[in-house]
């Protein structure tokens, strides 16, 4: 019988290799490992839950179907490249420009409203989420290239060199985009707070 190591000790590549050899449980562990990070990134990039869920599912379907072809050094970077390509295709086909406030139809709930709807209670939502709400609104207005880098660092927990490698850009460009994103966010949050 196959020995299973504690989750933290098993690398992504090992889990993917196990899955490619027919062990379905290995994929569950991989999904659990990146569920929050990937979904948050997609939610931040698409601006609504329905599209984020569609893309999230499609990313994992591709990972599952192409598990045997994985040859990259980093699984996370490989998966993010898949996610990014799917996002680009999705935007080409459906929506040319999306912000976190955008609502396409009644079923699509903008991210800022989703935050309040998912909060623990109305009192908490008012007290605790005002600043969060302002920050999230500001994140939604960032240009795509800056938002992508910002969310990869904050939600995906990528290092700047990993971001540069995954997006195929120079390190200084990644740092510059992050710097610009943060300057804009600070400015926007301050302005919203005053008004």
């Amino acid at each position: 019988m196959k020995q299973t190591m504690p989750d933290a000790e098993t690398s992504d590549a090992e889990l993917l290799r196990d899955y490619a050899q027919g062990h379905a449980a290995a994929m569950d562990r991989l999904v659990a490992r990146y569920r929050s990070a990937l979904f948050s990134w997609l939610l931040g990039m698409t601006g609504n839950r329905a599209d984020a869920e569609d893309l999230f599912q499609e990313v994992w379907f591709r990972v599952i179907r192409h598990a045997g072809r994985f040859t990259d050094v980093s699984f996370k970077a490989w998966m993010w490249k898949i996610a990014r390509n799917l996002l680009i295709d999705f935007r080409r086909k459906r929506k040319p420009d999306i912000s976190l406030d955008a609502v396409e139809d009644e079923e699509d709930q903008p991210l800022v409203d989703t935050l309040v709807a998912k909060g623990a209670g109305p009192a908490e939502a008012v007290e605790n989420d005002d600043l969060t709400r302002r920050v999230m609104r500001a994140v939604g207005t960032l240009p795509d290239v800056q938002r992508e880098v910002f969310l990869m660092r904050v939600q995906g927990d990528f290092s700047f060199s990993e971001i540069a490698e995954t997006l195929n850009i120079p390190l200084n460009t990644a740092l510059g985009r992050m710097h610009d994103a943060m300057m804009k966010l600070k400015k926007m949050v301050a302005e919203e707070g005053q008004s």
């Binding site: 569920r35 379907f61 989420d129 700047f160």
Partner: protein
């Protein structure tokens, strides 16, 4: 005009990011995770594809391939055995090598130990056949 970007220190960026990142993470935590339906769909797809991979291992093609590989190994082994028998085998070759490596005298000839022993016996007036069957030996038997 191209924007001029000064060299940015990643450590300084990280320090500035700390407070902002906490709020952003909190925001996404409140936004929740993918729905159980989506996660179930992923799990089902993973099971389906993993099942397919397992099934391929036991497919008729793989089984035929394994049988053919086994047969090839068997035939190869039999052929090698046949070759060894025809050429005399490794044991004979090893014997030949030992004979070649035997100690040699200063003149370069292989020492003949039995001849040397016979010579010693001759000097003492004895011979190999008579030495062990003489009267002294008979007395010992009695």
């Amino acid at each position: 005009m191209k924007t001029q970007t000064a060299c940015i220190d990643p450590d300084t960026l990280e320090k500035e990011l700390a407070g902002l990142a906490t709020l952003v993470r909190q925001g996404f935590r409140l936004a929740g995770e993918p729905s159980p339906e989506v996660e179930e769909a992923i799990r089902q797809e993973a099971l389906r594809c993993a099942g397919g991979r397992r099934a391929r291992i036991f497919s008729p093609f793989y089984l035929k391939f394994a049988a053919a590989a086994g047969l090839m190994l068997l035939l190869g082994g039999a052929f090698q055995l046949h070759l060894i028998r025809q050429t005399g085998g490794p044991a004979e070759a090893a014997g030949l090598r030992l004979a070649q490596d035997a100690p040699k005298s200063a003149s370069g000839k292989t020492e003949d130990n039995s001849g040397f022993a016979k010579m010693l016996l001759d000097i003492q007036g004895m011979d190999e056949e008579g030495y062990f069957t003489g009267e002294a030996a008979e007395a010992l038997w009695l």
